[in-house]
Structure formats: structure tokens, C-alpha cells
């Protein structure tokens, strides 16, 4: 069992969970993920890691409450335990040691982007961070990012923080600021990653995305996390999770991620009826 040492609601629907897992913390690198089960009999879900503390032996995960399993995770309290936290899994994000890197993050991806920004900064790269959300109250960790990045921009749909709009305004922003990144890194929901890849594909630099398909074992056995990258079948758990977003078949990935949406909705309904909600 893995003890939860801290639970915190970061912004509405997004939670931070800090779990005791000393061996996982010891090996963790930016861009890697863990497989978590919220309870006995629960699903195995891949979650990106937002931070770790090797001395305290803990791993922190920022996740979006979206279905039954993440709902159960969100209702855990410090002192509770989860039965599975396996990892670190996947290949670490390649960290550039010089030049300009543009990091675009949204939703739970802001969490997983933090250690990438930290590593880039420590390696000597000049980091520009763009945080994206529907509204300003859904943004978080601007302060943590500002402490490491050269610049932090925000984009919100309603204009309540920073630039109004979506990531489609990024090329214009780059033009105005004169930033010429050698690499773009995107963490967040599939939609954000696909849009950013399309929008910034024309820059002619790699757009590193951290894919989040459905997984079961997460260790290179079941094959459910297969994605088409550059026309080839790749497995996100062992070949990824990072790929060049310019080569990813986003339509396929978006469809595959939605496969169990109806069944999941039914489970959520069942779970809330059982709680008398």
C-alpha cells in the first residue's frame, strides 16, 4: 500500500496528491508517469508526475477529476492509502541544455510541465512558459513557473488572465516577442496538444507532446496505448509517452481515448446514485 501524505484541491476539479513511494521518487525523471489504482478492484490509470521529493520519499501527482477512478482519488484524505503506484514509467522528456524552449501547458499538464521547466532551467535552456485555461481561476503554479522560466504568458478563453483566446494565438505571440524556440514542449489534454502541434507545426522545430492514451499494464504488454506516429504503430507506454506532435494521428488518438466514455458515464452515474447524490 502507498500512503497518501497530502491531498489538495489546486483549482476546481484539479487535485494534487502526494504519495509516499521512496523508490519511485528516487528514479523519477521529468516527463515520466506512474500507474495508479485508487482502490482494490479499481482501474489502472496512467498519471503524469508533477513533482517528487527524494529526501521525503514522495511523489506528487496533479490530476483532473474526470471519471470514477479519479473521483475516488479526489476524495482521498491525507493518511489514506492507495494499493498501486507503479513506476516511474515511460521515457523521460529530452531536456535541452541551451537555446530557447517554449513550454505550453494546460489543465493537469501544468503540473507535469513543472519538473520539465525546472530541468530545462537547471540544464541552462532559456524557457518561455505558456499556460492555457478556460478562465484565470483555472490557472495555477504561475509563481512556481515564474521562478524558473525567463517569461510566463497566460492565455484564457475568456480573457480573464493574459491573452484572450486559445493556443492558435501562439504564432502571433512569438512574432511579437521575437521568441524563436528550438523546441516546443506541450503537456495537457489531447485537444490542447493536437491544436498546439497544428498551430506551431510550421515553425519547423520539434513539437514534443506527452501522449495520454488509455493504458492497462503500462509496461509494454497489453498494446491498448498504440498510437500512429509518422504512419507507424507506436506504444505510448514504452516508446513514449513523448512523441513529435507533428507526426501524431490526432483524429485516431482522440477517438481511441473516447472509447469507453458511455460506460464510464454510466459508472459515474451509478457511483453517485450509490452515494445518494
Amino acid at each position: 500500500m502507498f500512503k497518501v501524505v497530502k491531498m489538495e484541491r489546486v483549482v476546481p476539479n484539479i487535485h494534487l496528491m502526494e504519495v509516499e513511494a521512496p523508490e519511485v521518487a528516487e528514479q523519477m525523471q521529468p516527463g515520466q508517469f506512474v500507474i495508479v489504482r485508487c482502490a482494490e478492484g479499481g482501474e489502472r490509470i496512467p498519471l503524469s508526475v508533477a513533482d517528487w521529493d527524494r529526501k521525503a520519499g514522495t511523489v506528487s501527482i496533479v490530476f483532473l477529476e474526470v471519471g470514477v477512478s479519479t473521483g475516488k482519488l479526489a476524495r482521498l484524505k491525507a493518511g489514506d492509502s492507495i494499493p498501486t503506484l507503479a513506476g516511474p514509467l515511460g521515457n523521460p522528456t529530452a531536456i535541452a541544455s541551451e537555446g530557447q524552449v517554449l513550454c505550453v501547458a494546460g489543465c493537469y499538464g501544468i503540473g507535469s510541465m513543472f519538473p520539465i521547466v525546472r530541468a530545462l532551467h537547471e540544464a541552462g535552456a532559456e524557457v518561455t512558459v505558456v499556460l492555457e485555461a478556460r478562465a484565470g481561476f483555472l490557472l495555477y503554479w504561475e509563481d512556481r513557473m515564474s521562478a524558473l522560466a525567463k517569461r510566463v504568458f497566460t492565455i484564457t478563453r475568456d480573457g480573464s488572465s493574459g491573452q484572450r483566446g486559445h493556443v492558435t494565438s501562439l504564432p502571433e505571440m512569438l512574432r511579437q516577442t521575437g521568441i524563436a524556440p528550438r523546441q516546443v514542449i506541450v503537456n495537457g489534454c489531447t485537444f490542447l496538444m493536437s491544436q498546439t502541434s497544428k498551430t506551431l507545426g510550421g515553425l519547423g522545430v520539434p513539437v514534443t507532446v506527452s501522449l495520454n492514451p488509455i493504458m492497462i499494464d503500462g509496461t509494454g504488454m497489453c498494446g491498448v496505448c498504440r498510437v500512429s506516429v509518422g504512419g507507424k504503430m507506436k506504444f505510448a507506454c514504452v516508446d513514449g509517452p513523448d512523441f513529435d506532435g507533428r507526426e501524431v494521428d490526432w483524429t485516431e488518438l482522440l477517438a481511441r481515448r473516447k472509447q469507453y466514455m458511455d460506460e464510464e458515464a454510466y459508472l459515474c452515474h451509478r457511483a453517485s446514485s450509490a452515494r445518494g447524490v
Partner: protein
């Protein structure tokens, strides 16, 4: 062994014994009932049936059946004890060579191993060795108390076993009995490997797997789940705290046909399909929180045991039509005869000499049709089987809402991918310099089972585990344990 020698062995039958050629059938659930549940299909022999079957044994002086057994079970030895009603003696005998008799009795391909060698096979009524093995193991479990084997005093040596499938469990059990401290690491949340995630409940109840793992624990083996060796700890780190490591990490990524449409929604690899059902207990959805689809028309591609397991799982999930699509003919079907027969009884339709060429989806990315082409058999190919050749212009389509691809898989890639110093073969298997020891290219590291040989059977993995355990023991203590007859014969 030459056919001549087999005939000669046939002559060693005691002449006076009256031949009983009635192979006792094992009671099982009727097809129309078992189609709707995930409970085990076969009920197993009663004590009377087991004794009657066991009494048919000819007790050959040079028993050919043992030669066919990858772990060298003393088959006439345990069968005779069952014949005499000494069931405790029978299981004790079995456990001398096989630490998983309840499992081997259920999933071993006896018809190509021990039973095919039986002298009664010539009369078309070989001893039902698997059923008897299973009976003895189940009898012991039913007594509520499992007898502990003789244990050697602790040697102070520590061995890490990576992977808790049939190979790992065998190594762990053997080495624990020899007095070594064994820690068995499992990446998933439950031990058992393919026995847990792959083989369905109706063929191998998970309670039995848990029972066998508990037995291994009682031998002193520590089982650590949720631990991904290679990632949670590197091989190098593990080597610093253990005297030896055995890698039995099993199956890896599934193979696909490389035809258009394999990433459509509704197309599964058998690994995914079965793991979702078995390890995750998706079949209990919505009581379990593992979402699954209940498809109406399911096609399973492939003709092995995994294909049979997938098709029979689909039947139990309520599919109206389930097909096995296999490119060769019934003669070449690699699945165990018994499993194919069970599948057919349950309503699975076999489409032989058929090859899928394209999977067709709708505008939302969901599978809706499968396009196949008919095949005919040509000249024998490298495998000795007649090569299937496409019949031009014979393409046809079938409406389908799920396809399960069961063509096999590559070895697990995880440890080799994060351990550059570990040599792998072209096929991706961990390189083993000598299958008589299981030694890999890394010092103090052994490997066995699917990760070293490519996809094979549970019993082959157990056999490899046995070999590696002996080699590890020799390395740790300098003591050479005798090799078993079947290994000598097969090598």
C-alpha cells in the same frame, strides 16, 4: 526418440494386464449453461473416476510419458498412487518435480507431451494424465491443508526473481526449497503473470493461482507487487543487493497483421482484451469499475489457445456471433484440441482458410466491417505446414463490431530497453547463451520462459525455470543437482 525404440518400449507392457481402453471423461458444464458464466468449464474427476482412470495405467518399465514431460514428472509414480487411493502420496510425488500441479493439470498441452507418448495412445485411449494431475492437486486443496515439502537450511544467499508467471514461480519455489532467500517482483498489482492476466477464469480459476502463489509464500518467498524492475530499480541496483537475478518477464507487445484499420475503436489485441477481463475483472462490469464493451459480432484472428480464450470470453460476454478467423485449415490449428472443441460447443464459428485484409471503420473511428480473402493450401513452408495462398478475387466482407487480434506477441521489451548491457536476439528475446543453464550475457543474471524463448506454453516456462534454478543453485553453492531425464533426452 526413434519410432523403433518407441515400439520396443511398447513391448515392455506387462502382458497379463487386461487393457482398459475406456478413457474416463471428465464431467463439465453443459455448453448452453457455460456460455453464460465465467465459472470453470470442467468440474474435475471424482475420486472414483480418478481411481478408475488411474488403474488403466500399464506401469511401463521404461515409462515413455515421463520423457514427454518438460518438468519430468514421475507420471506412473503419481498415477499408481491415485490408483491405490493414496491421494496424499500422489500429490507429494507430483510436487517433487512440479510446484504448480493444479495449473499444469489444467493448461498443459498433454496431447502433444506426455499423453501422446503413452503406450495406450496406440490404442487411441491414452491415459488422461492431465486430468489425474489436476485431480491430485485439487484433492489436496480440498483437504484444507497443504503439505510442506522438505526445506534445506538457509544458505544466506539472496535471489531476485523478476516476474511472477510460471517461470518465475518455479524458480522461486525451487530456490526457496534449497534454502535461498527469494524475493519475487511483479510489475502488475497481482502475482501470477499470464496465469492471472491471460488465461480466463473459466479455464483456470484465479482462486487456484492465488492458492499456488500462497504456497510459494509459505516456502518463504517474498512477493512484491507494483514493482517494475528496470524502472523502479535498475538491474545494476538490483544486482548490488542480490547474489543472482532470474528474469521471467514474459510476454510483451502484441503482434498485429499490419493491415489498414487496426487502430480503429473496437479492435483489440488479445493481450488487452484478456487482461481487461481477467486481471481487471472487466467481465463483472458494471459491478466492477472496469469499463468494457459488450459487442454483438466479434471476430478473433488467429488459431492458438489465446484466440480460443478470447473467442470464448466474447461468447460469455453475450456476443451473438463469434468467429475464429484462421488462415490455414483445421489440421494446422495450433490450439489444444480440447479448447477448440470447447469453443465449437459454445457456438464459436470457425472460418478456416480465411485471411483478413482490411478493417473498415465508420466516420467516428469505430470498426464496422471486416474484409477477408479466402486461402488455399499450397506447398509446405519452412514450418513444415502447407503454406496458405490467397485465392484471387475471393474477397468478402462481414459486418463486425469487434476484432480481437490473437497472433502472438514479442517478448517483454521493458528490461532490455533500460538495460543496454543485456544482450537481446534479433527477435527481441533476452539472449541466453545456453538453454541448459538459462544464463544471459550479464554476470549473475539468468532468464527463462517467454522472454527468453518467445511465446510458448506455461509448462515450457516452468521447465526453463527448473533449469535456471538448478544453474543458479550451482552458482551459489557449487553443488551440482542432477539433471532430469527429459532435459537430457530433449537436448
Amino acid at each position: 526418440m526413434s519410432p523403433g525404440l518407441e515400439r520396443e518400449r511398447g513391448l515392455t507392457m506387462p502382458e497379463k494386464k487386461k487393457l482398459d481402453l475406456e478413457r474416463r471423461e471428465m464431467p463439465k458444464q453443459a455448453p448452453h449453461i457455460r456460455r453464460h458464466n465465467f465459472c470453470e468449464v470442467a468440474h474435475g474427476y471424482t475420486a472414483e473416476l480418478a481411481m478408475a482412470e488411474a488403474q488403466r495405467c500399464l506401469v511401463c518399465k521404461k515409462p515413455p510419458c515421463i520423457v514427454g514431460c518438460p518438468v519430468d514428472n514421475d507420471i506412473p509414480g503419481f498415477v499408481q498412487r491415485i490408483a491405490e487411493g493414496d491421494f496424499a502420496g500422489a500429490i507429494r510425488k507430483l510436487k517433487e518435480t512440479n510446484c504448480l500441479p493444479a495449473i499444469a493439470g489444467r493448461v498443459c498441452p498433454q496431447e502433444t507431451q506426455c499423453e501422446v507418448k503413452c503406450n495406450l495412445e496406440k490404442k487411441k485411449a491414452p491415459m488422461a494424465i492431465g486430468r489425474l494431475e489436476r485431480f491430485a492437486a485439487d484433492w489436496e486443496a480440498a483437504q484444507g491443508q497443504v503439505e510442506m515439502p522438505e526445506m534445506r537450511p538457509p544458505t544466506g544467499k539472496k535471489v531476485a526473481v523478476v516476474g511472477s508467471g510460471p517461470a518465475g514461480v518455479t524458480v522461486a519455489g525451487d530456490l526457496a526449497k534449497l534454502g535461498h532467500k527469494v524475493v519475487m517482483y511483479e510489475a502488475l498489482h497481482e502475482p501470477g503473470g499470464v496465469l492471472t492476466y491471460g488465461i480466463p477464469e473459466f479455464r483456470l480459476p484465479k482462486q487456484i493461482v492465488r492458492r499456488e502463489i500462497d504456497y510459494i509464500r509459505k516456502l518463504g518467498v517474498e512477493v512484491v507487487c507494483n514493482y517494475v524492475v528496470g524502472r523502479t530499480k535498475t538491474m545494476e541496483q538490483l544486482l548490488s543487493s542480490y547474489d543472482a537475478i532470474f528474469l521471467g518477464t514474459g510476454a510483451g507487445l502484441p503482434w498485429f497483421l499490419n493491415i489498414p484499420g487496426e487502430n480503429l475503436c473496437g479492435v483489440y489485441s488479445a493481450n488487452e482484451y484478456l487482461t481487461r477481463m481477467n486481471l481487471m475483472r472487466g467481465y463483472a462490469y458494471p459491478k466492477s469499475s472496469i469499463p468494457i464493451k459488450r459487442h454483438r459480432h466479434v471476430a478473433v484472428i488467429g488459431g492458438g489457445n489465446v484466440a480460443m480464450d478470447s473467442a470464448r470470453t466474447a461468447v460469455r460476454l453475450g456476443a451473438e456471433e463469434v468467429y475464429i478467423i484462421y488462415r490455414r485449415s483445421q489440421q494446422e490449428l495450433p490450439a489444444r484440441h480440447e479448447e477448440a472443441e470447447n469453443a465449437e460447443e459454445e457456438g464459436v464459428v470457425f472460418k478456416y482458410l480465411t485471411l483478413p485484409v482490411r478493417l473498415i471503420g465508420d466516420e467516428d473511428g469505430w470498426l464496422k466491417e471486416i474484409e477477408c480473402i479466402r486461402m488455399e493450401l499450397g506447398e509446405p513452408d519452412a514450418s513444415g505446414r502447407r503454406k496458405p495462398i490467397e485465392v484471387p478475387g475471393s474477397e468478402f466482407r462481414m459486418p463486425m463490431d469487434a476484432v480481437v487480434v490473437a497472433l502472438g506477441n514479442s517478448p517483454n521489451p521493458l528490461i532490455p530497453s533500460c538495460t543496454p548491457e543485456l544482450k537481446v536476439t534479433e527477435k527481441g528475446t533476452i539472449f541466453v547463451s545456453d538453454f541448459a543453464t538459462g544464463k544471459t550475457s550479464m554476470d549473475r543474471v539468468w532468464a527463462g520462459g517467454d522472454v527468453a524463448t518467445g511465446a510458448a506454453t506455461v509448462i515450457m516456462a516452468m521447465g526453463a525455470g527448473r533449469v535456471a534454478a538448478r544453474s543458479i543453485h550451482e552458482y551459489l553453492t557449487g553443488e551440482k543437482l542432477a539433471a532430469t531425464t527429459s532435459e537430457v533426452t530433449n537436448s
